[in-house]
């Protein structure tokens, strides 16, 4: 060991937290004298209702929240920086780990963004397969959102019922991509493989069985007064707030705003499918819950159409200079072997420029902004994580609610810290 090494000084995090809390308390202590002492409650980063590592610093008067400060970043892995250090295709597995409840949809959103940069449009079959991926992911994510929401309000069994359904979706994922959870299914310009024949009967079976299961969950919750009391008129997000805080996805639509990128800016040929966008009226937890349930029904509708009308043809774009050739030719032909090597080591030859592509993901608009200086590696990649944006509304809506409402609101916002912190 070199002697010049300084001893590493441990930051006194406990003391820092303490000072921070004191400042926090001091900032709002004006009117609090009459009402007595306020309780600062540190909810998370390790708490069952924070769905990961969200930390909420709650200032409470009894059980009533007077101030809430979300603190994110405990799951920060520097994905955006990582992306700058690898080729476009290499980053696909990282997108699995953003919203890890809907990896298929993340894969698609990312691939679409890069394809937009490349100016590619997928052939019909590829697009339809991606629609199937997106909608499966939507159902899967909403199921978990629903189950976790129910669990937060105490109904543990619903969680398990939705998980049972999710397992079936995982089986489908497995057939689609070869992995259940971290699918890494898309590649820039296509997919790793075409849909297997085994997929279709399984998918049909799932779609048949899914609606009755969903009805069951519906029956357990939707008209149960305990649940309704817990969610109705709780965590109301007004239209104005929803827009000004940049909410997207079911949380935005729950507030009664008809905004769905699949309708407003159709991609992947979503305009060809017959489906409706459910929106809420009051913007409370109950509306967000109902919207998710309805969206799942709509997704089933889309899935049925997509699977039924799945066109034939290639699934990848045709650009041999930028798309690695099929393995069979790599093994036998020189040019293909060279292209394979170069495309994997140097990445595709993207033009310089900037693109943003936002996809309607289960949690909201997952956007990838790519600034390219040309070549196979993004110069800068920014992820617009819907969970992160959706969480920003917490300080606005939490005050005035009770401790128990916090978990209900968190559950109804359905966020994923992997995406928020990215």
């Amino acid at each position: 060991m070199a002697v010049t090494t300084q001893p590493f000084e441990q930051p006194d995090t406990l003391a820092k937290t303490h000072t921070a809390l004191q400042h926090l308390a001091a900032g709002n202590s004006g009117a609090s004298d009459l009402l007595g002492e306020k309780l600062i409650l540190n909810m998370g980063p390790s708490h069952p209702a924070t769905h990961g590592v969200l930390r909420l610093v709650l200032e409470m008067d009894g059980e009533i929240i007077t101030k809430a400060t979300p603190d994110v970043g405990y799951l920060h892995r520097g994905d955006e920086k990582i992306a700058e250090n690898m080729t476009y295709n290499q980053f696909v597995p990282y997108t699995d780990r953003l919203d890890y409840l809907a990896p298929l949809a993340n894969n698609v959103a990312y691939a679409m963004a890069v394809e937009k940069l490349m100016g590619w449009e997928l052939p019909q079959r590829g697009q339809a397969i991606r629609v199937i991926c997106c909608e499966l992911a939507r159902i899967s994510s909403h199921l978990l959102g629903l189950g976790a929401f129910a669990m937060d309000t105490g109904a543990m069994t619903v969680f398990l019922y939705t998980f049972t359904e999710r397992e079936k979706i995982y089986n489908l994922c497995e057939v689609i991509s070869g992995a259940r959870f971290t699918t890494s299914y898309t590649r820039i310009g296509g997919m790793t493989r075409d849909l297997n024949e085994a997929f279709f009967p399984m998918a049909h079976k799932f779609l048949e069985e899914f609606i009755p299961s969903l009805d069951e969950v519906d029956a357990l919750l939707s008209r149960n007064r305990i649940f309704v009391d817990r969610t109705k008129d709780v965590g109301i997000i007004t239209k104005q707030d929803a827009i000004s805080f940049g909410l997207t996805g079911p949380n935005l639509r729950g507030s009664g705003i008809d905004h769905d990128l699949r309708k407003k800016h159709p991609y992947l040929g979503y305009e060809k499918y017959d489906f409706d966008v459910p929106i809420g009226s009051a913007g409370d937890c109950y509306d967000r819950y109902l919207c998710r349930v309805e969206e799942m029904r709509q997704s089933v509708k889309i899935l049925k159409q997509a699977i039924e009308k799945l066109p034939d043809g290639p699934i990848t774009v045709s650009d041999p200079k930028n798309l690695p050739p099929p393995k069979t030719t790599v093994m036998t032909k020189m040019e293909e072997l060279i292209h394979h090597f170069i495309l994997h080591t140097e990445g595709l030859n993207a033009p310089p420029g900037e693109v943003y592509f936002g996809a309607e993901n289960p949690k909201g608009e997952l956007g990838f902004y790519i600034s390219s200086k040309g070549g196979g590696v993004p110069h800068r990649l920014k992820i617009r994580a819907p969970s992160f944006v959706n969480l920003s509304i917490l300080p606005k809506i939490l005050p005035g609610h009770m401790m128990s409402d916090v978990v209900a609101i968190l559950g109804s916002l359905d966020f994923v810290m992997g995406e928020s912190d990215r």
Binding site: H47, N224, I226, D229, R230
Partner: protein, 381 residues
């Protein structure tokens, strides 16, 4: 020193024997297997399997395989107990040590004490199957139950931590509030029975049919038919209040794990936690027993002969006595499973909704119910 001779040694010996029998041979096994049932039933409700493997580790003794009983997993309570005993007994540095240690005891003791006045059988060995057959049995139950809150409050307070503290406060207000509707909803029953003694309550139901199922004595009079309404209401309110008193979902706010992590026992581990755990389930058993005694005829089963004090020493009487005890606990277990079943079906109340329900609805309903009962009793002789 003649007062030593005054001590009723026989009574004490019998009471001790009955207590030991009740606690160690019946209640604690039921408690541990209720925990198992909780896990197993919840699993089955949720399309899972639950603990179905823990057999007895005969492989430790050199056998090739562990002994799996027919259901599998029956060794789970034993494994749980061993785990609780062997886990590190951790006391956080910031707690108030004495009360931190006292709290689990205070949670466990009242729950078990309640059982003292519950007649869990008829006669055996020439003894009435109740530890203390006091006149004010039902009041005693309420009194002891109201002491039970101390354990939780102290746990919440002495942990010197915010989540347990909130849990403790919730528990206090919840239990005090629901004691009212609990007590009031029992009043109509007591009015009908006309006695506070729980043995007499059972005797009344043997004579007139179970309160909730008045036809069990073979006949149904108009009075019974009319009384069915207040008794039914009583039963519902009493059961709901019992859920609240025992902190079971949908009233498990003091320990709701998604909000308060684990409420008052967040900071507890190992055996101290186990005591809370056991106390909670023992309270469930006590509560179910009270319901059984008050509404479901206690140890009585229609069409089953009833043994007497005299016959209880004969083999036939003994057998009958055992059957009575079994009937009692069968009813209790059925109620416990109902408790479990409800827990895995419903969401949880919010705190203000819970208080509102208790004070605005259950309390009033119980109160009005008393008048209805009184009216019926006065009108129909």
């Amino acid at each position: 020193m003649d007062f030593i001779n005054d001590i009723p040694w026989l009574l004490i010996a019998a009471s001790v024997a009955k207590t030991l029998f009740l606690i160690f041979l019946i209640v604690l096994p039921i408690v541990s297997y209720t925990v198992y049932a909780e896990r197993r039933v919840s699993a089955l409700i949720q399309d899972r399997l639950g603990p179905n493997r823990t057999g007895f580790p005969t492989s430790l003794l050199g056998f090739h395989k562990d002994l799996q009983l027919f259901l599998g997993g029956l060794g789970q309570p034993v494994a749980d107990a061993v785990k609780f005993l062997l886990k590190e007994e951790f006391t956080p540095g910031h707690v108030n040590k004495f009360y931190f240690w006292l709290a689990p005891v205070l949670a466990m003791v009242p729950a078990l004490s309640t059982l003292a006045v519950l007649p869990f059988g008829n006669y055996m060995f020439g003894q009435k199957m109740v530890v203390a057959d006091v006149n004010v049995g039902i009041l005693y139950v309420f009194a002891i139950a109201s002491i039970g809150v101390y354990g939780i409050v102290l746990a919440g307070w002495s942990s010197n931590s915010k989540y347990p503290f909130l849990g403790g406060i919730r528990a206090t207000s919840q239990m005090i509030s629901y004691e009212l509707s609990l007590g009031l909803s029992a009043v109509p029953v007591l009015m009908i029975i006309g006695n506070l003694n729980l043995s007499d309550a059972i005797q009344y139901q043997i004579d007139n049919g179970w309160l909730l199922l008045p036809f069990t004595d073979g006949k149904l009079t108009l009075r019974e038919l009319l009384l069915w309404i207040p008794v039914g209401i009583s039963f519902i309110v009493f059961t709901i209040s019992m859920f609240a008193e025992t902190n079971r979902l949908p009233f498990d706010l003091p320990e709701s794990e998604t909000e308060l992590v684990a409420g008052y026992h967040t900071e507890y581990s190992s055996m101290k936690f186990a005591l809370f755990f056991l106390g909670e389930y023992a309270a469930m058993i006590a509560g179910s027993s009270v319901i059984v005694v008050l509404f479901l005829g206690g140890w009585h089963l229609p069409f089953l002969p009833i043994n007497t004090l005299e016959s209880s020493t004969t083999p036939a009487g003994m057998a009958l006595g055992l059957i009575h005890i079994s009937v009692f606990f069968a009813k209790v277990i059925a109620l416990l499973i109902f408790f479990i079943w409800v827990r895995w079906t419903l969401p949880r109340f919010r705190f203000d909704q819970l208080m509102k329900l208790g004070w605005l609805y259950l309390f009033e309903i119980a109160l009005v119910n008393i008048f209805i009962t009184a009216a019926i009793l006065a009108l129909v002789k």
